[in-house]
């Protein structure tokens, strides 16, 4: 991986765990859309050929020595990006659900809006896409919870299609929620008086494999995230919110 150069240096990170069936195509699609931008796949100690497939598709691979879970995996990418001097990082999931054709819009919003975080939102344009009834209910619930905390509505708080600038990268490379990071990350940024914006994006069905989220895990997810949000609200450092 070359060191970052220029004020608009962008790195695309792809956290992946046992995604050999999808990650190659994800990398290939990203390279079609943004051929000049380096792609880093973070392999969360997969037991299949995720790392090899990603390398063959043209990505750099950061291989974790043991399974850390999504948050630890994404944070490893943020750490490396920060140390290499990148100004912007966009995360694309390795299961193929995020459409890389939306990358330029997220990147442009990051540069133009001055927001520290830009979320690719499934719900800004038209009906909700590829979301189960239960998940949709959970998203609505967290919208309500987050509204007073963030001081503005967020349409898709569970989206993993997220871009951050260097200021957020610095924070996340030091401190990042380790399990179910998307919602807590928003509150972490809020504590630092950072801003976020949403841009519409498309979401597709998984290319391969199965989601690991079961009914029991969904319940645990809600409890865990609520607790995480609550703890982060308690940690709020009291600085005035920037508009």
């Amino acid at each position: 991986m070359r060191r970052a150069s220029g004020p608009d240096s962008l790195l695309i990170i792809v956290p992946a765990y046992n995604e050999e069936g999808a990650v190659g195509e994800v990398v290939w699609e990203i390279r079609q859309v943004m051929p000049e931008v380096p792609v880093l796949v973070i392999d969360d100690c997969s037991s299949d050929c995720t790392a090899v497939v990603a390398r063959v598709a043209g990505a750099e691979v950061l291989s974790l020595p043991h399974h850390l879970g999504l948050g630890g995996c994404v944070q490893a990418g943020y750490r490396l990006a920060y140390e290499l001097g990148y100004q912007y990082v966009i995360r694309v999931d390795g299961d193929g659900q995020h459409d890389p054709r939306d990358l330029p819009a997220i990147f442009e919003a990051l540069r133009e809006s001055g927001c520290e975080m830009v979320i690719g939102s499934r719900f800004l344009d038209g009906p909700e896409q590829h979301t189960s009834f239960l998940r949709g209910l959970g998203i609505r619930f967290f919208r309500l919870v987050l509204r007073p905390i963030l001081g503005k509505p967020v349409r898709d708080p569970t989206s993993g299609f997220v871009g951050v600038n260097r200021a957020a990268l610095e924070i996340f490379s030091r401190s990042f929620p380790l399990e179910y990071p998307e919602i807590e990350a928003l509150v972490v940024l809020q504590r630092k008086a950072f801003r976020f914006a949403e841009v519409p994006c498309r979401v597709r069905p998984r290319r391969a494999g199965r989601s690991s989220i079961t009914a029991l895990k969904s319940f645990y997810y809600i409890i865990h995230v609520l607790l995480g949000v609550f703890v982060n609200v308690l940690k709020y450092d009291g600085r005035p919110r920037r508009r």
Partner: protein, 122 residues
């Protein structure tokens, strides 16, 4: 009451012996054995010194001294578990940081190696 106190004595003595044996075999580190030894000694003393137990029961407003012993046992082990939760959390954080650092170093090492190979070939 005597039977319960004897059982607690036996259990706390067993706990102390098991922890000491584990220490001897280096299965547990000294700093992590302290909580268990302190809990064992505390329960051993309370189960053998009836006067202390009765005084403690009066202090806690519990009429039945064996119930006070159960309450104290529960509280002591709760403290021990809490302490270990803190230690586990700290170790997990350190472990994640370490794993990420190892991955980054390995990645940089590989990049240097490939660069060296390319220079050799060129």
């Amino acid at each position: 009451m005597d039977r319960l106190l004897n059982v607690v004595t036996l259990l706390s003595a067993t706990l102390i012996v098991v922890v000491l044996a584990s220490l001897r075999r280096a299965h547990i580190r000294v700093e992590y054995s302290v909580s268990w030894l302190a809990a064992g000694v505390c329960l051993l003393v309370l189960s053998r010194a009836e006067g202390v137990l009765v005084w403690l029961a009066g202090l806690l407003g519990i009429e039945d001294p064996p119930l006070a012993l159960l309450f104290v046992s529960f509280s002591v082990f709760l403290l021990v578990f809490y302490r270990f939760s803190l230690i586990i959390s700290e170790l997990k954080d350190a472990n994640i940081t370490l794993a990420q650092r190892v991955a980054i170093l390995q990645y940089e090492l590989q990049a240097l190696y490939e660069k060296g190979q390319a220079q050799k070939a060129g």
